[in-house]
Amino acid sequence: MTNVDTSTSMESPLHHRVAHTNAANAGVVMKEDKFRGQLNLRGNPQDAAFTSAVEKVLGVALPMAPSSSVRNGDTVVYWLCPNEWLLIVASGTQGQVEADLRSAMDGQHIAVTDISSGQTLVNLSGTGVAELMQKSTVYDCHDSNFPVGKVVQTTFAKTGTTMCKLEDGSYDLVIRRSFSDYFFLWLQDASDEYGLSVS
C-alpha cells in the first residue's frame, strides 16, 4: 500500500464512514485507498517530446490504447481520452510529480492539474460484487467485455466513476469527493443481501 499521510489535519472523503460496523464474511468488501496523489494530464499523444518527457518523469510510458492502463508500483496511469490521462501516484508525491512534469514539458501546450483532494480511490471486492455491479452501473462488467486492466468511465448509481478491473477481479473506482457519501449510502443498501465490510 501507499505511505498514507496520517496527519490529523487531513480528511479523506469517506473518513466519516469507516466506523461502519462490518458484516461477518461479507460478500462485498470496500477499501478506501486514502490520499492517493491524482493528477489530470492533457497533452498531444502524437508529440514525441511530450510522451517521452512524461515517461521520463513517471517511469512508465503513457498508455495509448483506448481504455487501457499501466501500472508501476504506486504509479498508475489511466487512459481517459486520446489526449487525457489520469495519473495516480503515491500519497504526498503529487506536488513533486506535478512540478517535474511542468519543468520537463516547459513551453509545451499541456495541462497538468492536481485533483488529488477532489476524488478518492475505492476498491470493491468480494463474491457479491458482480451482482452489485449489475445493480449499480449500465456498463457490462463481464470479463469478456471488461478484462483486467481496462479503464471504464461510466455511471455508478446516480454518480459517475472511472473504474479499472484488477488481477484479483476486484474493482478500483475513482469517486468524486462530494458524491462519495452518497456512493457509500448506495453501496450500503445495494450490498445489503451480501453483507458489507469497510476498511
Binding site: 481517459l80 481520452c81 486520446p82 449500465v138 468511465q153 461510466t154 459517475g160
Partner: protein, 90 residues
C-alpha cells in the same frame, strides 16, 4: 435504449450522454445581421428522419460527438467527432 458508439469509449448506453443540439447549423459571422442570428438561434429543420446532432459523453470521456440518428427509428447510422461528417449525410 439508444446506444451510441463513442469513437473513444466504444458502445455505451445513452444515459451516459447528454444531448447537445442540431449539428447542421452554421454559426453566422460575428458581425452578421441580426436576422441571420435570429434564424441561427431559433429556426430548426427538425426533420422526421435522419438528423445530425451533437451529443456530449458527459459520464464517459467527456468528448463532444457528432451523431447521425433517425428521429423516427432512433437508429444511429454514424458517429464521429465534431469536425467530421458522415459520407451519406442526408
Amino acid at each position: 435504449m439508444i446506444r451510441i458508439n463513442c469513437p473513444y469509449c466504444g458502445e455505451r448506453e445513452h444515459s451516459e450522454f447528454t444531448y447537445g443540439e442540431d449539428a447542421t447549423r452554421t454559426t453566422p459571422d460575428n458581425d452578421a445581421p441580426m436576422e441571420e442570428w435570429n434564424k441561427f438561434v431559433y429556426e430548426r429543420d427538425n426533420p422526421a428522419g435522419e438528423h445530425i446532432e451533437y451529443w456530449h459523453h458527459a459520464f464517459g470521456c467527456r468528448a463532444w460527438l457528432k451523431v447521425q440518428r433517425n428521429t423516427i427509428t432512433h437508429d444511429i447510422s454514424w458517429v464521429g467527432l465534431p469536425h467530421e461528417n458522415p459520407e451519406a449525410a442526408s
